[in-house]
Symmetry: C2
Subunit: 166 residues, 2 copies
């Protein structure tokens, strides 16, 4: 049975799939008369095709149990989609499964583990698993596209690929 073992999330490893939001390594500079530090442009929305608007929503995710058979992957062909957990607990973690944009190929799937409030911004058309919260009900702030057109495509898998604990 093929297994997906989560890798630590990093900008380099995740680059083929989108952006990682984290403070380490981010460009930053003081604003507001020195009372605030701005960590600038951690993610950029790509949501304007076909008249799309950029919105913020909250996703409240039930925790999942591992091992988790991967039975569905999805992509948003008209826009990027960013997730930031509303958690300041450095022990908070969630899992990510992605595959490159284009024709879906199961053997191209990779898994990542995000910690604390690390966020990800899936590039337009990048295949990803629906939210995989761990341990507890978890709220995520989501920046994505609202507008006309079919912006969600899904592919079903037979569950033979299994996401494991690290």
């Amino acid at each position: 049975m093929p297994q997906l073992i989560p890798e630590p999330l990093s900008r380099t490893a995740f680059a083929p799939y989108g952006e990682v939001m984290m403070l380490e390594g981010a460009r930053h500079y003081p604003i507001n008369q020195g009372t605030t530090e701005r960590y600038h442009a951690l993610a950029c929305a790509d949501t304007q095709s076909e008249g799309g608007q950029t919105i913020l929503s909250v996703f409240r995710a039930q925790p999942r149990r591992l091992p988790l058979p991967v039975t569905i992957m999805e992509r948003h062909p008209l826009g990027s989609q960013a997730f930031v957990p509303l958690s300041t607990d450095p022990e908070h973690a969630y899992l990510i499964v992605v595959a490159p944009a284009g024709e879906f190929e199961p053997q191209q799937m990779r898994a990542f583990i995000a910690r604390g409030w690390q966020g990800v911004n899936y590039g337009k058309g990048v295949w990803h698993h629906p939210l995989i919260a761990l341990h507890s009900v978890s709220d995520f702030l989501v920046m994505d596209r609202m507008g006309q057109g079919n912006n969600c495509e899904e592919v079903a898998l037979d569950g033979s690929w299994v996401l494991q604990a690290r």
Copy 2:
């Protein structure tokens, strides 16, 4: 000395200035095979004028002390700006001072107190005070505009208006 006393933040009270992000009263529906609840479109970016892009940044704000003389207000004529604190502590709070878009009038200022992870999305051109964190260094996720053009205007006040504790 004129005083600004913070009002509780609510969608109705804040409507002239922008959107309030909170779960109570938000439209929501299940997604992801029922494992996630989507609280939809809590805020909508208005950032596309003059070729603007929508970005996510983090602002790390030093706490301020009350009473706080109001010596500066600012506005972003080319785009909305949304703030969501990265805090799950229901006791977390921050303060907001706003005045309507258009010519700045000090006597039109109003103050609000936001609690927990309640967020606000200032409408394009709405006057607002720079971030006012309380008690501790506070991180905020910020959705605003990146692009050409002068998108920040400031007005100086003489400090005679003072923001008080509630």
